[in-house]
Amino acid sequence: MTDQSVPTLEDEDEVATRPGLEIRGLYKIFGPSPSRWIGAVKAGMTKTDLNRRHGHVLGLTDISLSIPPGRITVIMGLSGSGKSTLIRHINGLIAPTAGEILFDGTDVCRMSAAELRGFRRSRTAMVFQKFALLPHRTVLENTRYGLDIRGVPRAEAERAARRWIARVGLGGYENSYPSQLSGGMQQRVGLARALATDAEILLMDEAFSALDPLIRLDMQRILLELQEELHRTIVFITHDLDEALRLGDRIAILRDGRLEQVGTGQDIVLRPANDYIAAFVHEVNRARVIRLSAVATPLAETEEAPRLALPDRLVLEEAAREMLAAGAERALVVGPRRRPLGIVRIGDLLAGMVRPSGRPPTDQAPTGPRGKP
């Protein structure tokens, strides 16, 4: 097992040195003259006041969020919470009223039109809720699109496109038109198109929301599988808490244009920052949400490592099933590429599955809107 942990460490180092995204003090006001009201909004004018008295809509309020490299950050919120507005700031499709988005030392919000185009061509890619494929182009031509725009030679672009089409499981459909494919297959094309550019930032705007539940699960699995290996910096927008919990290394919950809580899935389920989030996560099936990493305890040096090894991403229910099947009392929890992280007992699983009665204990302070996991 030790020989396999070496590449993992290298991976982590490589990921850690890559630039992440840093969103600082972002405000967005929609209306004819947003800059006129930004001062008042910063001083605390409410969304309702701004709308009723001055006819401007407050889209985002004081968003500060760091998006770590090589991880999936999910921005979750109900419709109208500003999540689609927020993700469009990252590649400059929407310009903020105030604030900055730093990537690799540059502020995306201050780029010129040409710089922004270059940034979009080489550093970011996007997947859309309604796929947004070019209907008059084949799967191959759609997948090639980002490379074509960048001026990559035809043969090279085609080779890359074919490779990614195969990777998302659409081999053989290269010459089909989008209208000939089902929704799930179309979104695979959308994913292949975004991955083909090799951009490190992948923006996914409700990418799976338009799909049937089963297809959606399938796409989530594909995304997680690809991410295992690619370690892209993914910003994933969703209104679905289950999806957020399944995909997100970090989850940011947005409500009415404000960040309510930022943390890992477990953080949010175990320590909701306020009543809104508590209500949100109340009905969550903890056995299917909380992962082994949340209940694992460190392996004592004297202790013998259990034979059964379970990945840390495994949810408690799956872990329980595996352990029951193996007749094991204890199991080793391993990270990516089987790096050992800790140990888990059947009792830990049960404790994790049961929702504590009443309100969350107060001695575990909520992480707060900008808390780090």
């Binding site: 499709l93 979009r120 996007m126 947004a132 070019l134 725009i149 209208s179």
Partner: protein, 303 residues
């Protein structure tokens, strides 16, 4: 008269129009100035239109002096290339042969030459203007009222300045036809581009497309149905306008129709009228079938 005016003062009853003398003076002044300007520029205008005149004459000669069998074969080949439908090709053949049988071949060729040139001009002029109107709301606000005027102003009315400026002949006729035929091209280009799925456009933008790349990769291809409707409408408008343009010296079928109206030649009028209808149908079916063939990818819908 005051009694017939419901007891109102005269001014509210009989419209206080400007008196006949000043109106006459105004007309004379404007007409005179306009004529003087045109006269002083006539050399430049003639020089500018000379190449058009030569090109039009050459094209007309090409259509009329080529043996009819060659022209027919070419027309049928074009119709086949556009529509890929034997029915449309057969219909075209029957219509063209009937036209020849009734002795209208030469006139039809003149009209065909005129309509082809005018349509091509209208598309070449209309497409960029339509694109410009789609890209900027301000541009659209300027262009729309101009198009409204162009489309509602009776065509006879703007024949007058065209004749004053360019005189009588093919070129002024062509200019009148193009002015008449270009509005649908502009409007439908504008509309087609504006109706392009905003999400697809956003996707192109998100991948870093430049304005030009968005235009060629997304906007024009997705606006194609509207563009093809625009071309189709332009052809129809041009065909109907060549008849009116015969009043300023454009030959062909239109001239025969004008003659038939003036002399009440019932049969001549209808034969020429039907010849125009036949050409219109050929153009229409071919361009529509072509447009549909370009969008076959839409037909293969999954569900």
């Amino acid at each position: 008269m005051a009694s017939a005016c419901w007891g109102l003062p005269d001014a509210f009853c009989q419209f206080p129009a400007m008196d006949g003398k000043s109106l006459l003076l105004m007309r004379r002044t404007i007409d005179g100035t306009f004529r003087d300007i045109v006269r002083s520029w006539s050399g430049a205008i003639d020089a500018a239109t000379a190449p058009l005149q030569i090109a039009l004459n050459a094209l007309e000669r090409a259509f009329t002096s080529t043996p009819w069998i060659v022209v027919l074969a070419l027309v049928l080949a074009i119709v086949w290339a556009g529509s890929r439908s034997w029915r449309i090709v057969a219909g075209t053949a029957v219509a063209m042969l009937a036209i020849g049988w009734f002795g209208l071949w030469r006139d039809t060729m003149v009209t065909l030459a005129m309509v082809s040139v005018c349509t091509a001009m209208a598309v070449v002029i209309g497409l960029p203007i339509g694109i410009a109107a789609a890209r900027s709301d301000r541009m659209q606000r300027v262009i729309n009222p101009v198009l409204d005027v162009m489309q509602t102003l009776p065509s006879f009315v703007y024949l007058i300045p065209v004749v004053v400026i360019f005189g009588i002949g093919k070129v002024p006729g062509m200019i009148a036809v193009v002015i008449y035929a270009v509005p649908p091209m502009i409007r439908l280009t504008n509309l087609g581009i504006r109706l392009v799925d905003a999400q697809v456009l956003e996707a192109a933008e998100a991948f870093g497309s430049s304005g030009r790349q968005k235009l060629w990769n997304v906007q024009l291809p997705l606006a194609l149905p509207a563009l093809m409707t625009g071309v189709n409408q332009t052809i129809m408008m041009a065909l109907s306008m060549v008849v009116v343009a015969s009043m300023v010296g454009v030959g062909g079928l239109g001239k025969n129709v004008l003659q038939a109206i003036n002399n009440q030649f019932f049969t001549l009028g209808f034969l020429n009228g039907f010849a125009l209808v036949a050409i219109a149908i050929i153009f229409d079916r071919t361009s529509q079938a072509f447009g549909q063939r370009l969008q076959q990818y839409r037909g293969a819908a999954h569900d």
